[in-house]
């Protein structure tokens, strides 16, 4: 329908135009719907792409024949035999170093098995295939491998294994894990929340319960809304200038007698991330406090409670589920953020568990970034596995936020 018509069609011509108008309407409706279909397809493609990378055939060769270490197949050896092999074939320096990291006697059988593979037999990955290729072109791949790498073994491998979760970093993709990255992420998020939750809730209480409508409070409110839209990398630069550089004596721990570090620590990262999620926490807490009905406050004032007594005994307990939901969402934002951590100086190779706020750190998204930007495809496979770990972590967090919201939500 053209709005510039001088006359609206009438009678027969109106009826004739009607079917055309309906046709246009239904075409556009399906166009609108197709936008959602594209969104769903993108999501499906993304998830498929990740699964495709995390599983598939891998062709590898043993650099050293397992037979030269043991007459029995490796899988049948028990812990003591593995230990003996390691002791006999590793140089005494290398063995001592491993023993210092964790006493060899106390290591599990799986751990010793991995060590034997990693240090003695040494795997050389020749080529990897995606899940789709592995399933659809299985026969061709087998022929190709037999032709190109006659020595190689072909194995369908899930790169995401329980071992992947519990082993630290390694420079070889097949032995690398995300243990240090997960621990680093947890430390960082813990510090961020310890820093941001009390301050954020305090700010929200001030703005909702105490602030009058004067200029300074309006400025605070506008400022918080704007901070929520500042690009995360700018927070990274702020963290680099303030937490890493200006506060170095504090964040490196040299104030507390820690000597072997600079400002690029978990503490700096956690504080930077806390600054980043602070506006989010404030805004969510404000919404939660706003939802507490005024009648509760008036009843409290009516029986003579002071403002803080009202807030502490009546407003906060009722707003708590909302505040917690908001902070879970903030946690999931912090776990996925990468850019500020790069700027603040996440280390790329950490094979020792972080042992406190002053240790160097790596985090799950940092590992994903590192591995994705490597050229070899086996690193893409472990990047995909790490993404699955990250997404499952986020899904759990968000699901618990939704559950919490639905469960404790009160209707007034």
């Amino acid at each position: 329908m053209n709005p510039n018509h001088d006359h609206f069609p009438e009678g027969e011509s109106y009826r004739q135009s009607l079917s055309g108008r309906y046709r246009t309407a239904s075409i556009w409706q399906s166009l609108f719907f197709s936008a959602l279909v594209i969104a769903i397809l993108s999501l499906a493609a993304l998830l498929y792409n990740i699964m495709d990378g995390a599983f598939g055939y891998v062709a590898f060769e043993y650099k050293n024949d397992p037979a030269q270490f043991s007459t029995k197949p490796l899988d049948d050896l028990n812990k003591q035999e593995l230990l003996a092999i390691l002791k006999a074939n590793l140089s005494s320096g290398a063995y001592k170093k491993l023993d210092n990291e964790k006493p060899m006697e106390k290591r599990s059988k799986a751990d010793l098995y991995t060590l034997t593979l990693e240090r003695l037999i040494q795997i050389d990955i020749k080529q990897t295939w995606s899940m789709t290729d592995s399933i659809l072109h299985s026969a061709e791949i087998k022929i190709e491998v037999a032709g190109k790498y006659p020595e190689a073994k072909l194995e369908f491998r899930s790169w995401l294994t329980p071992v992947f979760l519990t082993t630290p970093m390694s420079s070889k993709a097949e032995f690398a894990g995300v243990r240090t990255a997960i621990l680093g992420s947890l430390w960082m998020v813990g510090i961020a929340i310890l820093f941001a939750l009390p301050i954020g809730t305090g700010a929200a209480i001030y703005l909702q319960e105490y602030a009058s409508k004067n200029l300074i409070n309006r400025v605070i409110q506008t400022n918080i809304n704007n901070l929520a839209g500042v690009p995360s990398i700018v927070y990274g630069m702020l963290g680099l200038a303030i937490f890493v550089r200006a506060f170095e004596p504090f964040t490196s721990g040299s104030m507390f007698g820690v000597t072997d570090s600079n400002g690029r620590t978990i503490l700096s990262a956690g504080l930077t991330m806390g600054t980043l999620v602070l506006p989010l926490i404030i805004i969510n807490a404000q919404e939660a406090i706003k939802a507490v009905p005024d009648s509760l406050r008036q009843a409290a004032f009516g029986v003579g409670a002071t403002r803080w007594q009202t807030v502490w005994h009546h407003v906060l307990p009722n707003a708590l589920p909302g505040i917690l939901t908001g902070s879970i969402l903030a946690v999931s934002r912090a776990i996925g953020e990468t850019a500020p951590l790069i700027v603040v100086g996440a280390s790329t190779f950490i094979s020792i568990d972080p042992d406190g706020p002053f240790s160097k750190f790596t985090a799950l998204p940092i590992q994903i970034y590192q591995w994705t930007t490597r050229a070899q495809s086996e690193f893409h496979s472990i990047a995909a596995s790490a993404i699955i770990v990250l997404l499952i972590l986020l899904l759990t967090l968000n699901a618990s936020a939704v559950l919490l919201r639905n469960r404790v939500q009160r209707k007034y």
């Binding site: 166009l31 959602l36 993108s42 839209g229 994705t372």
Partner: protein, 313 residues
């Protein structure tokens, strides 16, 4: 009479004190709460001060002149090349591509959700958009490099480089889509029902109503969504750092590699950067530009939203 007397005798009235009582605990708490509120202002001040201080060091460097900064097209502060344009153009190109993907798709999705979808369909479709919005950007980077780029190479052939602005831009568009659609949907559902009923009464079809009545009425809210989307695209880091290329490149070809402002900051600061070098201060100059651009965009969009709200409330 007698009863009243006993009540008066039994209740021991305290003399009413109308003066405000001093409660030191209360005022301490109130001060602490005020400090937490004001801290957010300190964060903004700290951002402006720290970025400004280092950026000033950069621009005060005798080698850096305005003519070089804006008049040349190569950026390599380490060897005295200070032309900012390659970083700016690639940021503009990736953001433009992202907006060309996310605005039509997001708007169409919002129109469908607010005007056509049944409550049941909404309850299925909206969470899917929310999942898209919750995926970390580093995952989108993986997707851009290992899915979108091979796809573009299949479609457009050899001319597509392994790292290119096109795939980063498209994937960024997918990332921003949920933001545009949810903000536009809010704007569309804020249009009063009476306007729609009026259009139906005049014999308009649902499509004519939504396109010629509801959409114009929600235009300012959609404008705000567009502006927020641009600000998000300009500040987005991980997708471009992974997929758009490493190294400033002055080009307008979306199939070539070129580093954006954010990607440049991420790459340079990723190494062990020593303080007080020209590389270090130049990053702060770029970050200050980013901060100012996004701040202005966010402020404009907030002003638009506030105006829009007043009109219908």
């Amino acid at each position: 009479m007698k009863r009243e007397n006993t009540i008066k005798e039994n209740i021991n009235f305290r003399p009413l004190d109308l003066k405000k009582k001093m409660r030191p605990g209360e005022s301490i708490i109130q001060t602490l709460l005020f400090i937490s509120g004001v801290l957010s202002i300190f964060i903004t001040v700290a951002i402006v001060y720290e970025l400004g201080k280092e950026a000033l060091l950069f621009f005060n460097n005798p080698d850096v002149t305005l003519a070089k900064f804006l008049g040349t097209t190569r950026w390599q502060p380490g060897i005295g090349l200070f032309g900012i344009w390659p970083l700016v153009t690639s940021t503009l190109i990736t953001s433009t591509i992202a907006m060309f993907v996310s605005l039509p798709l997001g708007l169409a999705a919002a129109l469908f959700l607010s005007e056509y979808a049944s409550p049941k369909a909404r309850s299925v479709l909206k969470p899917i958009l929310e999942i898209l919005a919750g995926i970390p950007t580093v995952v989108y980077g993986y997707f851009a490099l290992l899915f979108m780029t091979p796809l573009l190479q299949k479609i457009f052939g050899e001319g597509v480089e392994v790292y290119n602005m096109g795939s980063a831009g498209i994937v960024m568009g997918i990332m921003i889509l949920p933001l545009i659609s949810s903000m536009s949907e809010d704007a569309l559902s804020a249009v009063p029902r009476a306007l729609r009923e009026g259009a139906y009464a005049m014999g308009a079809t649902k499509f004519e109503t939504s396109l010629q009545v509801v959409l114009p009425a929600a235009l300012s809210g959609i404008g705000a969504a567009l502006i927020i989307g641009i600000s998000r695209a300009v500040g987005e880091t991980m997708i471009v750092a992974i997929a758009a290329g490493a190294g400033p490149n002055f080009t307008f070809n979306p199939f070539q590699a070129a580093e954006t402002m954010t990607g440049h900051i991420a790459r340079i600061s990723g190494g062990d950067l020593s303080y007080n070098t020209i590389d270090y201060t130049s990053l702060f100059a770029i970050a200050l530009m980013l901060f100012l651009v996004t701040l202005i965009l966010n402020l404009v969009s907030q002003v638009i939203i506030n105006k829009f709200r007043q009109r219908y409330e």
